[in-house]
């Protein structure tokens, strides 16, 4: 395992030029890209369509060869077979064999990692439960919806418990529920010491989960750095309070005027649409409404993020350490495991009392730490970075 802070992926002067049949230069997909992605971080490759994100990932994975420059991955060349046993990859399209069912798919990819049969079967069960495809495990992948294919694609990427997880447009085709679960999983993996490289043009996804981002446009790096640093408006201060009446507002204006400051904006904070959507779905699930699709959303994240959950810990441990004995076989681990998952107690309480258990009760799982502090983010900054090439050219190379 790489020590925290060690370089996992390093590119120097990475350039990819595509040529036509007559070897004439057709397009420069990536140009002189320097990146140093370190362990335990979630790194986002951000950019509009055709900015070179996927090409960069494919070069990191050895699927494309650089025209110029070099790549090392865990200090080795991308074609090194041993290095690949530490990587999990979810491509932009799932690229799975349509004639295999979910279980066969995971079994086949598990075999390529030389996993013993028992361990493989165990992991397959856990992963299918995690991505919510247990009930359709024997249906052919070709019959899955796009979102379900993304889920099984994620499961195959995790079958080897990778130290480096590379996700190309991971949330494309996923419903908000799946997107949320994906993001929670990414954070969970990062907290457990994994390195995640994420490519996306969906700004909210990157903003929610990434520690650092690199913004590409036209194959060139336009900006790079920590998300907080890039988005912070240091010339403004935001205070959130209880709702204020007009008198109080006047007082505030007076105080600010005394300090020679101006009140820029006063408004009621809005909830995110994602949060609203998730609340509605959660409510529907509590009422046990039926659905024909995948049945995840929340449970897996809850499962993986709760440190005190022995069940979750068991699964994570078995995914993390191949050589470790199976925790379920240890009597202590069995004793420590709760009789029922917390979510079932919650449902039981609801059934008995006839109303939903209030959030914050002892049975409610703690809030999921999907990001650091909630921030009001001016997306215009990012859009500006993407759109204005000349202004930001001075930031090139800022990654290092």
């Amino acid at each position: 395992m790489t020590a925290q802070g060690d370089s996992v992926v390093c590119t120097m002067g990475l350039t990819k030029i595509f040529r036509d049949f007559w070897m004439r230069e057709k397009v420069t997909a990536v140009s002189a890209l320097d990146m140093d992605i370190r362990s335990r971080e979630v790194f986002g490759l951000l950019g509009p369509n055709g900015s070179g994100k996927s090409t960069t990932l494919k070069m990191i994975l050895g699927l494309l060869f650089p025209t110029k420059g070099s790549i090392t991955i865990f200090g080795k060349h991308p074609s090194n077979v041993r290095v690949k046993s530490r990587i999990g990859f979810l491509p932009e399209e799932s690229n799975l064999y349509p004639f295999l069912d979910a279980r066969e798919t995971l079994d086949f990819y598990g075999r390529l990692f030389h996993q013993p049969r028992r361990q493989r079967a165990r992991r397959i069960d856990m992963l299918l439960e995690m991505v919510g495809l247990q009930s359709v495990a024997y249906r052919r992948v070709g019959e899955y919806s796009k979102g379900m294919q993304r889920r099984i694609g994620l499961a195959q990427a995790l079958i080897n418990d990778p130290d480096l997880l590379i996700l190309d447009e991971p949330t494309s085709g996923l419903d908000p529920l799946g997107t949320r679960q994906f993001k929670d999983l990414i954070r969970t993996l990062a907290e457990r010491g994994k390195t995640v490289i994420l490519s996306s043009h969906l700004l909210a996804d990157v903003e929610d989960v990434c520690d650092r981002v690199c913004i590409l446009y036209g194959g060139k790096k336009r900006a790079a750095g920590e998300v907080g640093e890039l988005l912070a408006k240091k010339d403004l201060t935001q205070i959130t309070t209880d709702s204020l009446d007009e008198a109080t507002m006047e007082k505030i204006r007076a105080v600010l005027a005394g300090a020679d400051k101006q009140l820029v904006d006063v408004s009621h904070p809005h909830d995110k649409l994602e949060s609203l959507f998730l609340r509605i779905v959660e409510e529907a699930r509590r009422q046990r409404l039926t659905t024909g699709g995948a049945v995840s959303g929340g449970k897996v994240a809850e499962f993986l993020t709760r440190e005190e959950s022995a069940e979750g810990r068991n699964i994570i441990e078995s995914l993390v350490a191949e050589a470790l004995p199976e925790p379920a076989e240890e009597p202590q681990a069995v004793e420590a495991q709760p009789a029922e998952p917390a979510v079932d107690d919650e449902m039981l309480g609801e059934l008995v009392t006839g109303k939903a258990v209030e959030p914050g009760t002892a049975e409610e799982p703690p809030d999921i730490p999907i990001s650091r502090q909630p921030r009001e983010i001016d997306r215009g900054i990012i859009e500006g970075l993407l759109g204005d090439e000349d202004e930001k050219s001075s930031e090139e190379g800022g990654e290092k």
Binding site: L61, L64, F65, F89, R111, H114
Partner: protein, 555 residues
């Protein structure tokens, strides 16, 4: 190895899901179902069995060859086209392991399908073997020329060079050599041969024609060596059906295959006592013992129902194809001859008079005992007129007959049909293993239609290689087509290097002729066609696959 096996398993599973096995079995069943409609042969049961075997093995080979090419190309190029490879290539699976896994999977599929087809064809052939033959000759043909494995020995080549030198000496002695040379000096030769070389070639041709032609009452002789007949007896148990011990004659019931190996008037041993076959049936024969031997108490004790051990002495089969040098009159299709079998420089032991058809191979079976000494044999063909049909009928002089040395051979049984059949199936398997490597190679860098076309062109080239050789040889014989010959030879050389000669390694002809397919030939086929060429193709495929990019630009 685990990775290769995982990919091979996956390939097998993929092929089964693609219904390839079902399609093949349906096509094979359809092919075999129409077999009875097409296998008329020459009207004999032997002809039917030959057709069934050659047709069955042929259709299996063709179907599996096409299937192998299509499947290997489809799975490899399909993985690239549909981007499945992008998931596989990022797993701890070397690219060469992926290609070998794909190849192994198709080879295993072929092994399974070929096994099913081979068993089916064998059962059909055995079913036909159990039917009633049209005649005793038909029965003999089935047992001694089809359901057997015979070694084929070609005659020793005549020393024509020596004969030509003698002719030249004679021309010189007669003072006609310079005149003969002058005949060729005046003509321009486009191949640049000297008059001496052209005279020598002409004399060679004349001498070869002379020694291969028998004029009226004339003869042609061949010598054979290295006939290994030691321990080639066939043994089985029989039951005495009729005992006439008083005159030394018995009718013995034996299994059908053994009865087919007996020769009329040939030697046979009953409980190790030598006798002579005097009459033959499908599952019985009559044996007569000489007056001295017949008095032995053991024979006198034989009664109806007694079980005896029957030993059939080894026999040799002389096969030739005679062609009259002139066109025969209408209605006359038989050439009359006497064949003499004996050791070289010795007296003939067996003299067989009769007639044979023109232009088709004729087989004559005689006991080997006495005729073959120290593995050597001499056979003489004498061209005789047709015997008179009546006291007043006229005897016409026969036409000259030419028998090419290439059309002459001596055959003798060296093994059973079953083992030979298994070896022939292995030969087909060798071809399929090679084709799988070919498909993997082309599929690794070409799209499905282009790779399939390339494979099919080479496959066709390998199948018609002999025909191509002849065609190119014809074009290359000087004259105005020299350039075509030059180009043709280049193409031929390329095909020869890239493809094994599938028409030569095809086992169907040998199998239906009951010719022994040696382990050496399988070793050669596996070592050269599979071992060398398949390794070359797989190696090249792996190298190209290692060097190529597995994703496309999407900007």
């Amino acid at each position: 190895m685990n990775s290769i096996w995982a990919v091979a398993r996956h390939t097998l599973s993929q092929c089964l899901r693609m219904k390839i096995a079902v399609a093949f079995l349906l096509l094979l069943a359809a092919g075999l179902a129409i077999l009875p409609l097409v296998m008329t042969g020459d009207g004999t049961l032997a002809g039917k069995i030959r057709t069934a075997l050659s047709y069955g093995v042929g259709i299996t080979g063709v179907l599996l060859s096409i299937l192998t090419v299509l499947v290997t190309v489809a799975v490899v190029s399909g993985d690239i086209q549909q981007k499945h490879i992008q998931l596989l290539a990022v797993k701890p699976l070397a690219r060469w392991q992926y290609l070998l896994g794909r190849w192994l999977g198709v080879v295993l599929l072929n092994a399974a399908l070929l096994g099913v087809a081979a068993v089916t064809i064998y059962l059909i052939a055995q079913h036909l073997r159990g039917s009633d033959p049209a005649s005793a000759v038909d029965h003999r043909t089935i047992e001694t020329e089809i359901f057997t494995a015979r070694a084929e020995v070609k005659p020793q080549p005549p020393n024509i060079g020596k004969l030509v030198r003698k002719r030249i000496e004679k021309l010189k002695v007669d003072g006609r050599f310079d005149d003969a040379l002058q005949t060729y000096a005046g003509e321009v030769d486009r191949k640049g041969k000297t008059p001496q070389e052209r005279l020598y070639a002409e004399l060679l041709k004349q001498e070869l024609s002379r020694i291969e032609t028998a004029g009226p009452m004339g003869a042609i002789g061949w010598r054979f060596k290295d006939l290994d007949l030691a321990g080639r007896e066939t043994k089985a148990y029989g039951t005495v059906k009729i005992s006439r011990a008083d005159v030394g004659q018995f009718r013995i019931s034996v299994p059908t295959p053994l009865a087919g190996k007996l020769v009329y008037r040939g030697p046979v041993r009953i409980d190790d006592i030598s006798g002579q076959v005097i009459s033959l049936g499908r599952d019985w024969f009559d044996v007569r013992f000489g007056p001295d031997v017949a008095k032995r108490q053991h024979l006198l004790d034989l009664r109806k129902g007694s079980t005896v051990e029957v030993t059939v002495e080894p026999t040799i089969q002389f096969r030739y194809k005679a062609q009259p040098t002139v066109k025969l009159p209408a209605g006359k299709k038989q050439l009359h001859r006497v064949l003499y079998f004996g050791p070289p420089m010795g007296k003939p032991i067996y003299i067989v008079a009769g007639s044979g058809p023109t232009g088709t191979p004729t087989t004559m079976t005689v006991p080997a005992a006495g005729a073959v000494v120290d593995g050597k044999l001499q056979v003489v063909y004498r061209n005789i007129p047709a015997p008179p049909t009546g006291p007043s009928s006229m005897v016409f002089m026969p036409p000259s007959v030419r028998i090419s040395s290439a059309d002459v051979s001596v055959l003798y049984r060296v093994g059973g049909f079953e083992a030979n059949y298994i070896r022939s199936v292995l030969l087909v398997f060798c071809q399929l293993v090679f084709l799988a490597a070919l498909g993997v190679f082309f599929g690794s860098f070409l799209s499905f239609p282009v790779a399939t076309m390339a494979c099919m062109v080479l496959l066709g080239g390998g199948l018609i290689f002999n025909w191509l050789s002849e065609a190119v040889g014809w074009y290359g014989q000087g004259g105005e087509f020299d350039f075509s010959g030059f180009v043709g030879n280049i193409v031929l050389t390329i095909i020869k290097v890239l493809m094994p000669n599938l028409s030569e390694t095809s086992p169907a002809d040998k199998l239906v002729d009951g010719i022994y397919i040696s382990w050496a030939s399988i070793g050669w086929a596996s070592a050269w066609a599979v071992g060398a060429r398949a390794t070359l193709y797989l190696g090249l495929g792996c190298w190209i696959f290692h060097k190529r990019e597995l994703a496309h630009v999407q900007v």
